[in-house]
């Protein structure tokens, strides 16, 4: 009997509630900076490896395959294709949503990876050709949310 003295009445159960109140300021980094500044300019920026030519979205400062530094960052084409779609009825904090949020995963020609973002407007389905919808220039802050999401072309 590894533990001899066990709690056998619910009334005797005790617990202690506490929290870990940490805050962070995440550095966007070399590639992240290019990406976020690109969004402010209304462009989606990918990184291209000088060794194998592979293009990555989101951009990285190093190649997954070659382990080479990446220093070429260019905008992807304006059109993407919806490769996956989900209708979220549960929010980020676990709350039940009255109206679902529609998420898409959008891929771009010749680019490895893609972006998870919102579907904007009607008619967006898996396989749809879509284009990014940006916030008005004055409201862009250099964040992923400078993009409203993707709308059907």
């Amino acid at each position: 009997m590894p533990l001899r003295d066990r709690v056998t009445s619910v009334g005797d159960l005790r617990s202690w509630t506490d929290q870990i109140p940490f805050r962070y300021e995440y550095t966007a980094g070399v590639a992240g900076e290019r990406f976020l500044r690109g969004l402010m300019d209304g462009r989606i920026v990918a990184g291209e490896c000088g060794g194998c030519g592979k293009r990555f979205l989101p951009p990285k400062a190093y190649c997954t395959d070659c382990f080479r530094a990446i220093d070429r960052f260019d905008a992807v084409g304006q059109d993407g294709i919806v490769a996956a779609m989900a209708e979220a009825w549960v929010g980020f904090q676990g709350e039940r949503l009255a109206r679902p949020k529609r998420y898409v995963f959008v891929e771009f020609d010749g680019v490895t990876g893609g972006l998870v973002h919102f579907a904007v407007g009607p008619g967006v389905r898996v396989g749809s050709r879509v284009a990014p919808r940006f916030r008005p220039l004055s409201k862009r802050r250099g964040s992923l949310l400078d993009l409203h999401g993707f709308a059907k072309k």
Partner: protein, 375 residues
């Protein structure tokens, strides 16, 4: 030939949605006590190295590895934490033994996840802060997205995944370690409330709590000390790119490559060469995707799940998700089956078993282990 390694004891405690009467550390102590009794070893003198698989955020305790030694019998001894799935921790045990660092190693993994009041906050903090987190697309949204793409590419239908859920829930009814067994109609599964459609309520494993300890030894030591063991024929783990970073959606590499390496080590040909398989089913469609990764096509996969050759335990959908102890649970079920001690869900006298784990979204990390008895 590298040194042979075997499992000489297993112990567990809990396997409930919530365990309210013992603390995390007491849970570990109870599981360890049972495993050491099963292996007939004294941790203070017989065990050379202790490994604990855990993550600080799930513990709610910073640098939690410092709080590990006492409750597993490892005070003033070599103890380390592997912040990963249990099977990866077992990989470190195999390395300790093969390198000559240790003859006997204890691997602990647990879930005390009901203590985590903000489970979603922990999961959400796993998302990339710059490229991903701000849209609020959490683990389940990623799963819903992947499920939609996988179903489209593979031809897997809603009915197919509902059959997986139904079979695993039914099997879990005869497993004393399973918290989420039940008799469900296909329609009930297919019409359940959406989480991130196409992902519905029953497609996702609910959380459960348990402590698990597995004791490994070199075959030389086991022989010398006259202990029967379950042989570890192969063990491997891999991290690849997740599908949303360009990984393969039909055959995720973390699974296919870990499996390929295990097959090579074990000298086996394919998934069909195992009497039973415990394969990750954190989400219903992931079971079909993981089986596809190890070369089992859809039609055979569904049949193997319904017959109980895959996930005789009821899997995570039937047992509950045990965070970092999820892989350990699969190994525990395999070891119990191979020793004929799995209880209500014992499947005859299996000689070989494979366990395959996935670390959950947003990771592309998985591990595999091949086990056998009576070689």
């Amino acid at each position: 030939m590298p040194e042979g390694v075997c499992i000489i004891g297993v112990g567990y405690e809990g396997f409930r949605p919530t365990i309210t009467d013992v603390s995390t550390r007491e849970l570990m102590f109870l599981a360890a006590s049972k495993a050491y009794a099963d292996a007939s070893v004294d941790p203070r003198t017989d065990i050379d190295s202790f490994i604990c698989c855990t993550e600080d955020f799930w513990e709610g305790w910073s640098i939690t590895d410092e709080m590990v030694p006492d409750q597993v019998g490892g005070a003033r001894r070599p103890v380390c934490t592997v912040p990963a799935d249990g099977i990866i921790g077992m990989g470190h045990a195999v390395m300790h033994i093969r390198s000559g660092v240790a003859d006997v190693v204890s691997v602990e993994a647990h879930s005390k996840v009901a203590d985590v009041l903000d489970k979603r906050a922990v999961e959400n903090l796993a998302l990339d802060p710059v490229y991903h987190r701000q849209t609020g697309a959490g683990s389940d949204v990623l799963a819903g997205l992947e499920m939609s793409a996988f179903m489209r590419r593979s031809g897997v239908t809603r009915d197919d995944v509902s059959r997986i859920v139904k079979a695993e829930k039914a099997r879990a009814l005869s497993n004393g370690r399973a918290s989420y067994g039940g008799t469900l109609e296909l329609k009930e599964v297919s019409d359940a409330e959406p989480i991130a459609a196409p992902l519905l309520k029953y497609d996702k494993a609910e959380f459960a709590e348990a402590g698990t300890v597995v004791v490994f030894a070199s075959e030389r030591w086991a022989k010398k000390n006259k202990k029967d063991g379950v042989s570890v024929d192969g063990l491997a783990w891999r991290s690849s790119a997740p599908w949303f970073e360009g990984g393969d959606i039909m055959r995720p590499e973390y699974a296919s490559e870990a499996f390929r390496s295990v097959m090579k080590q074990a000298g086996r040909r394919g998934a069909d060469s195992f009497d039973l398989l415990e394969i990750d089913d954190t989400y219903s469609y992931k079971l079909l995707q993981h089986l596809s990764s190890v070369g089992v096509p859809k039609a055979s996969a569904i049949k193997m799940v319904e017959e109980g050759r895959v996930n005789p335990s009821g899997g995570s959908l039937g047992t509950g998700h045990l965070i970092e102890a999820t892989g350990s649970h699969r190994v525990l079920e395999c070891a119990l089956q191979l020793r004929g001690r799995a209880g209500g869900n014992q499947r005859g006298k299996p000689g070989t078993a494979l366990a395959l784990s996935w670390r959950g979204n947003p990771t592309a990390t998985g591990a595999a282990i091949a086990l056998s008895v009576g070689r």
